[in-house]
């Protein structure tokens, strides 16, 4: 008899989703002008979770005006008072973290294990960290009494909905800005629950405004004349469009965009931990991570051995109900994203790479993709160059450290990279040559509010997190 884990589902009862949500503007939920709505579904079941308002340009205008009005008082508050609001928010998030984790898992499709152990703790930590900065900005290295910018227009993606909200809102509020945030079309719910947290924290109205909608809503927000600061996390294509939109204005811009991270494994790597790091690098959040280690660069001399270990390890991944506490691989966020992953993976096969995936059953409903790896990939393959944003690993080989660095850097992107070696000098030499904003040596996909995050090249500019993250929201 085998050791089969019985289902261990997290209870849905901890979260109460309303049948419909309006826009959160000036401290109140209001209907969208024109009354348009759209449905948000659970990607693991395709069940409709709620109906959400489609914010129009007029709604964006209302929200920006509310934020502008709130800015005067908010920015004039003593930093210590702003800090206390943020501390309150951090604490309320901790209190409600199980509810928010379940909600996020429902709306996004990612495993509860991740929302519970990664997203939510990081969300609370981010608010807690930036809360402490609010009354210490004089010491941040940007001169005495650095001033906020004004109204921040923030557009976030669907892969870490609440965490990306935290990365945007916490530093913005700490520095004295007010915010209009547009969550992703497919994952609006946690931002709307965050609005309720703002209410519980007693945050002055208009300081945080949440306008749900699709790409047109986001475009209206970044183009709005009353916005002083634009922060965007998402695709490189949209990032470029935003950069063109704000060209010639005084709007300060930061962009966190795509990536095609190289995870470099040398022959002297701690192999068992490297295998874990590779798995964590590309299968965390179904690979829907901008800093995913989607290109495995393995030293040719250990290629076969490493691939054997990796395949064995992939065979133990548990795919299925995201609410099950033992699920490692959840659902892909949307049909659209699934189609993109499928198309790119198919191109890998068509271009001659060898495809492998462990045997595992996919649920009937919802959007699913097996954890997949491709061997025999070269720099010329699409799957080595384009961001797949899914659980697909491209395996390439190298012979020397120089070749590893050259291949790793041979990309339009420059967000993340991994280095696996037990030799300290080699790690430092390689890290010093990689054109990437975040480098994980003998680890991968670690995040912390104190640690700056952001890219080189077409992965965007500006940093989120740490002291560096303040700069994006200060007039410096």
């Amino acid at each position: 008899m085998a050791f089969e884990y019985a289902p261990a589902p997290e209870s849905r009862a901890v979260v109460d989703i309303a049948p419909s949500y309006g826009l959160f503007i000036d401290g109140e939920f209001t209907e969208a002008t024109g009354g348009k709505v759209f449905k948000t579904i659970s990607p693991s079941t395709e069940e409709v979770l709620s109906e959400v308002a489609q914010g129009s340009a007029e709604d964006v205008d209302r929200a920006v005006k509310a934020a502008r009005k709130a800015f005067e008082k908010w920015s004039a508050l003593p930093g210590a008072e702003r800090a206390k609001y943020l501390f309150r928010i951090a604490r309320i998030i901790q209190e409600r973290s199980r509810e928010l984790a379940v909600l996020e898992t429902l709306d996004n499709g990612k495993p509860i294990k991740e929302t519970r152990d990664a997203d939510l703790p990081l969300v609370a930590a981010h608010f807690f960290y930036y809360a402490g900065w609010a009354d210490k900005l004089d010491h941040a290295g940007y001169g005495a009494n650095p001033r906020p910018l004004g109204v921040a227009g923030q557009v976030i993606p669907w892969n870490f909905p609440l965490l990306m909200l935290a990365w945007k809102i916490a530093p913005a509020l700490a520095t004295g800005n007010t915010v209009v945030l547009k969550p992703a079309e497919t994952t609006p719910l946690s931002a709307l629950f965050f609005a309720d947290i703002c209410r519980q924290a007693g945050l002055p109205k208009g300081v945080v405004n949440i306008v749900t909608g699709d790409g047109t809503t986001g475009a209206a927000l970044v183009a709005h004349e009353g916005v002083d600061k634009v922060a965007f996390t998402g695709s490189t294509a949209v990032g470029k469009a935003i950069a063109r939109t704000v060209a010639g204005t005084d709007k300060k811009l930061t962009l966190e965009l795509g990536g095609k991270g190289a995870n470099i494994v040398f022959d002297d790597a701690p192999i068992d931990q490297a295998v874990e790091g590779i798995v964590q690098g590309i299968f965390f959040n179904q690979g829907q991570v901008c800093c995913a280690g989607s290109r495995l660069l393995v030293q040719e001399s250990i290629h076969d051995e490493l691939l054997d270990s990796l395949k064995r390890r992939l065979s133990t991944l548990r795919l299925g109900d995201p609410l099950d506490k033992n699920t490692d691989i959840g659902a892909i966020n949307s049909a659209e994203q699934l189609a993109r992953i499928t198309e790119l993976a198919d191109s890998g096969e068509a271009e001659g790479a060898e495809r492998w995936a462990p045997a595992c059953e996919l649920p009937e409903n919802g959007f699913w993709f097996r954890p997949t790896l491709f061997t025999g990939v070269t720099q010329a393959h699409r799957i080595a160059r384009e961001e797949i944003f899914g659980p697909v690993l491209s395996v390439l080989t190298f012979r020397t450290p120089g070749e590893a660095v050259a291949k790793a850097n041979n990309s339009q992107y420059g967000l993340s990279a991994g280095i696996w070696t037990e030799k300290g000098s080699r790690m430092l030499a390689v890290a010093g040559k990689l054109r990437a904003g975040v480098i994980w040596a003998n680890t991968f996909n670690k995040f912390d509010p104190t640690s700056p995050f952001g890219g080189f090249k077409e992965s965007g500019f500006g940093r989120e997190g740490g002291r560096h993250g303040l700069e994006a929201y200060l007039d410096v």
Binding site: T236, L255, Q412, A441, T443
Partner: protein, 294 residues
Amino acid sequence: MSERLTVFKTYKLFVGGKFPRSESGRVYEVTDSKGNWLANAPLSSRKDARDAVVAARKAVGGWSGATAYNRGQVLYRVAEMLEGRRDQFVAEVAEAEGLSKAKAAAQVDAAIDRWVWYAGWTDKISQITGATNPVAGPFFNVSSTEPTGVVAVLAPQESSFLGLVSVIAPAIATGNTVVVVASEKAPLPALSLGEVLATSDVPGGVVNVLSGRAAEIAPSLAAHQDVNAIDLAGADAELAKELEIAAADNLKRVLRPQPVDWAAQPGTDRMTAFLETRTVWHPTGSLGAGGSSY
């Protein structure tokens, strides 16, 4: 006895450590503020800009890989060389900007002092911009800054020398290489600066100086996929917007034009504008698996 006829200088571009003419064979007339002819300056083409980018890219590895101390010494050497040719630059600036000798001298002195100031920054800026970050886990986490790479610089139009130095020096102090488009109407101090750089231990390609029409050269620099950043100091609002839009194609770092008093003491922002922060994580672990208390 007749007055001695002076020897004119042929002003040339400075690209990859060499002094080529424009590949287009074109020149344009440079006059002083009263309209008197001063020289014919090369009228750079887009191809000249492309060649300059190639030279700048080639120089990135060596310059950014040099020790910060070494870069500081090289930049200081530039100041030494300028000091020796002070009178020449005073004369050029006076003619270019229509200033009195005394005012031009103040500009040149300030420019020389600015080189010294930035020379001293090379091995300090990363201590200001970096950090060790106290992450909540068993990891050593350090952020340090790296040069962005190749920076296209549109030098200020009015301040032909002090302004020029004020945009070149910060970009290269941190390890970037630059392609600078000199002030359109007053390019001569910039072209002469090339001669100083060539004799100051600055590796070829670290600074490349083009003269000509910003509106003609800059768009190709802004759109160039192998240029990492652009400083729009010398662009007017309309050109700046056009260039910023073009720069989005490969998400160049863009420093927008802003009113600057070049004579005032600068901050660090012209250096930090062209730096990338890289954060490296590494596990720390403990002394032993046994929970040793040694």
